[in-house]
Symmetry: C2
């Protein structure tokens, strides 16, 4: 069964996935019976190309890398926008990696709904749609007999969501808490080495761990989106972002960092959620002082981690990257592979 | 589709699973469409009972807890040995939790083969069979159209195997290293608090973290079985135990522990495996001094952890319990649930 893929968006993450797909083509076929053809790419800036018989992915990547556009790739139909690409190509799986507004979740939400309505699976990494509309989209997908997957929205390719939803199914998760933002963890780690907050932020920006406008990371908004996803998808909650108290790291001083050291603790930006007695879930994002003997205290630099508290296992923690081209491309691959493995049983 | 379960062995682990199955009966049906009936229990010491219409699991547990045998449970056929129970009952899934010799893997291997040959799925926690014959058994199962599962053999219910085999599929794992034995990790942690090896061992025995004869744990043999499983099942190796150099913790002194502290390190018993250039895998069990900034260094007491080194994600670490009645019972539940989820797609 051939998986025919259309990319909506073809930036860093999309290209990262394309490279992994190319690299793994033979192994995926041999190990999982997974065969694919990329039939379309539609990107607002780079242009669009569609060939129902499949694109030469290496050639396309070369063109995009050297020219910044798909225009020099000529074998196919040009210029189809995202919705036309989703609904009218012969793709059966959409990779939704467009530039999307995290507040509104658009245009990704529209893309996802369009795909679901014409019975196409969707894999994605944008937090916006899932943080805003997880239940609605999952329910729509189920009704339409397709899968939507979004492992990359929390801890990137580190399988934090799959761990909670699949591997820890029925373990009776009562709590989740973690370090889900690499930018702030990097800054806090550097402050422990003696840098001021401003120095650490500047260094993070130089290394690509922080954006030119770092607000979403340092004010905790990125972590907020992720804990809403975890709450609603893993813990059965129904929270919206405005129901979650959110405090970032901008008030933490070098003195605070030193004081914590004296106490045998480390400041971490923690995103957490807890099941209450009445079955509802409460969530939060805030800095916390973590004792050194807690697994989360061992997490330094841009690395992320998540601890699930369960009835049968106590605490289970996963630690790994939370961002990055390859890590996020890999997240999409696991989503695609999971959909394939479900389909072939 | 009703899952009809036969227990081969009904000791601590078997009863742990039975309790979880009882507790979760409604949720398993509601969340996963999973329905079960326990039709038979066959235990060398406790006796055997079979009822094709299903046993009253609560009643059976009460009988076993108060009398140590199944004899007072009368509604059914008595006395069928393990092989007869496997081959002649109407069970379609065998829970193989018998007392088994870790060196020979028997009688578990015979049980597993008998089940596979009559097309019954098997879930298990005994390391012996998988450490000795993973490939053969997996291949037999595939040929016969059934599943064998053994999450509980490594890190108990902490899903270390599922993480490596499923969630990290195609991530290009080149190395695995971890703390896979809780007894020795507990002893080393206590030695760091100032106890001698002998004092720490005695305390471990009192708390149930070490056996009366602790050889298998302290000499590294338990870790050895687990790293062979990891090597062969996750990393495509074909090792036997005698090909793996194995050194336990019996030579570590209080002075060694203190010296490590001075160096900013902790002694840990590490089980590891690495992919070599020629595609073969080398494995080992040995004490190592781990720097404090490595996630494995944060793992204290009887807790276990495993780090997978991958191409696309770098290091991914999972931390959680490595033993225990509930944790191991839960491992079996995840195996059973996975088989069910595969069957219903």
């Amino acid at each position: 069964m051939m998986t025919r893929i259309a990319f909506i968006g073809f930036g860093v993450v999309g290209q990262g996935l394309a490279e992994i797909l190319l690299e793994q083509k033979d192994e995926l076929k041999e190990n999982y019976g997974f065969e694919y053809s990329v039939v379309a790419v539609s990107d607002k800036m780079k242009g669009a190309i569609y060939n129902e018989n499949g694109l030469d992915l290496q050639k396309l990547l070369d063109v995009v890398k050297s020219t910044g556009k798909v225009d020099d790739y000529t074998e196919g139909t040009r210029g189809w926008d995202s919705l036309k690409t989703i609904t009218e190509t012969n793709a059966n799986l959409i990779v939704e990696v467009s530039w999307t507004d995290i507040k509104t979740g658009e245009p990704a939400i529209s893309h996802i709904k369009a795909a679901i309505k014409c019975h196409k699976h969707v894999v994605m990494t944008n937090k916006g749609p899932i943080a805003l509309a997880a239940r609605e989209l999952l329910s729509m997908a189920k009704t339409n007999g397709v899968e939507i997957r979004f492992e990359g929205t929390v801890l990137s390719g580190t399988p934090a969501l799959n761990l909670g939803v699949y591997n820890l199914a029925s373990s009776k998760i009562t709590k989740v808490a973690g370090i889900v933002n690499g930018t702030t963890n990097y800054i806090l780690t550097e402050m422990e080495k003696g840098l001021s907050y401003e120095e650490a932020l500047k260094q993070a920006q130089e290394l690509g761990y922080a954006e030119a406008d770092p607000t979403a990371d340092v004010e905790g908004f990125d972590a907020l989106g992720k804990i809403v996803i975890l709450t609603n998808v893993v813990m059965g909650g129904m929270l919206t972002k405005d129901q979650v108290p959110c405090q970032g790291i901008t008030n933490i001083t070098s003195q605070d960092i030193q004081d914590a050291k004296q106490e045998g603790k480390r400041w971490k930006l923690i995103a957490g959620a807890e099941l209450k007695g009445d079955g509802s879930v409460e969530a939060y994002v805030r800095p916390e002082k973590i004792p050194l003997n807690h697994p989360l205290a061992a997490v330094s630099g841009p690395i992320n981690a998540l601890t699930y508290t369960t009835k049968y296992l106590g605490d289970v923690t996963i630690i790994g990257p939370g961002a990055g081209r390859e890590a996020t491309g890999y997240a999409l691959l696991t989503d695609i592979l999971d959909i394939h493995r479900k389909a072939v049983r």
